[in-house]
């Protein structure tokens, strides 16, 4: 897999470049590993404030992930480009970004129950299939739904 996991948010603009102003997160690197989708829409449920974080294991964050698997991602349908949570560190969740080619459904984003959502235009993200489920736990601190134990398989 290629692609950086760095994503920076200043409250108005998303960026991936090193040194970009704003709060720095780790995202699912698959979201940046392919051909970016031009003129997409991102729903950024995160705040630039460094204190705006919760443990991934917080029940609110767990339930938002369950809801994403159950009905959020299927509702987005073909307009979905990708989804990533935003890891602050190996323990803490700083928010989530859902990217789509149309912003109509963003009002129902379950991650907006954790941190308020802001809709912005973006050219940063490529298409990543939504997680097949039902894994909700993270793999070694990776930003859900990224990561896997795949290198260890077949032992």
């Amino acid at each position: 897999m290629t692609g950086s996991s760095r994503l920076v948010w200043d409250g108005e603009t998303l960026a991936t470049a090193l040194g970009s102003p704003g709060r720095r997160f780790r995202a699912d690197p698959r979201c940046f590993a392919g051909e970016p989708v031009a003129d997409a829409w991102a729903h950024v449920c995160a705040l630039p404030d460094e204190d705006a974080k919760l443990p991934y294991d917080d029940v609110t964050v767990q339930q938002a992930r369950r809801d994403a698997l159950a009905w959020w991602l299927p509702r987005l349908g073909d307009s979905l480009v990708c989804l990533t949570t935003l890891a602050v560190d190996p323990v803490n969740f700083g928010g989530a970004v859902t990217v789509a080619t149309h912003p109509d459904a963003f009002a129902d984003d379950p991650f907006a129950r954790v941190f308020p959502g802001t809709v912005v235009r973006t050219d940063l993200f490529c298409r990543v299939p939504p997680p097949p489920g039902p894994a909700l736990e993270r793999y070694s601190g990776a930003a859900w739904p990224g990561g896997s134990f795949e290198p260890r398989r077949n032992r």
Binding site: P132, G133, P134, A135, E137, R153, N154
Partner: protein, 173 residues
């Protein structure tokens, strides 16, 4: 997709389950390898939403999904229901796991899982396979008779056995 129907052999324990690629309940193509994602996988073939036995069995699996979600294990259900029907059935069950649609019956005969007694729907024969991440079959259950299906305890046992085999840090010491 061309599938060799002449194979017509139900995957047995120790053999490799074919890496099917079929639309999920949203219509997106998914391979079994992608669904497993390096984790143990429970694959259920199901007659379809209309069968009372399937409804009951899948409600049981919904009760297990909370554990699967935090235990690095996957679950998928394969039937001939179209994606939009599977999506509605999934939502009605409260399921968060994935449904695969073989509406065109591409794999039905190749897997040897055609339900011969149902000449109306021509569905899958109910079966459950517990698979290693590389899709090797650990156990296979014939669910034609309802009591042939695995209990949740049997699935827990299988997933424990597979996890023990694939995770090098399983043992305490």
């Amino acid at each position: 997709m061309a599938v060799d129907a002449a194979l017509a052999t139900v995957p047995a324990p120790g053999s490799a389950f074919p890496d099917l690629e079929l639309p999920d309940h949203t219509g997106r193509l998914r391979s079994l390898t992608e669904i497993a994602g390096g984790d143990p996988l429970v694959l259920v073939t199901s007659r379809g939403w209309w069968c009372p036995k399937e409804q009951r069995f899948l409600r049981g699996l919904v009760a297990l999904q909370d554990e699967l979600e935090i235990a690095y294990s996957r679950l998928a259900v394969l039937s001939i229901d179209p994606p939009e029907v599977s999506a509605a059935f999934r939502a009605g069950l409260g399921a968060r796991f994935l449904f695969l649609s073989d509406e065109e019956r591409v794999w039905l005969d190749a897997l040897g899982l055609s339900e011969t007694t149902d000449t109306v729907h021509h569905p899958y024969r109910p079966a459950t396979f517990t698979l290693f991440p590389d899709l090797r079959v650990h156990r296979a259950y014939n669910g034609y008779w309802f009591w042939g299906r695995p209990t949740l305890e049997e699935l827990r046992r299988d997933l424990r056995e597979i996890t023990r085999a694939i995770r090098p840090d399983w043992e305490l010491a």
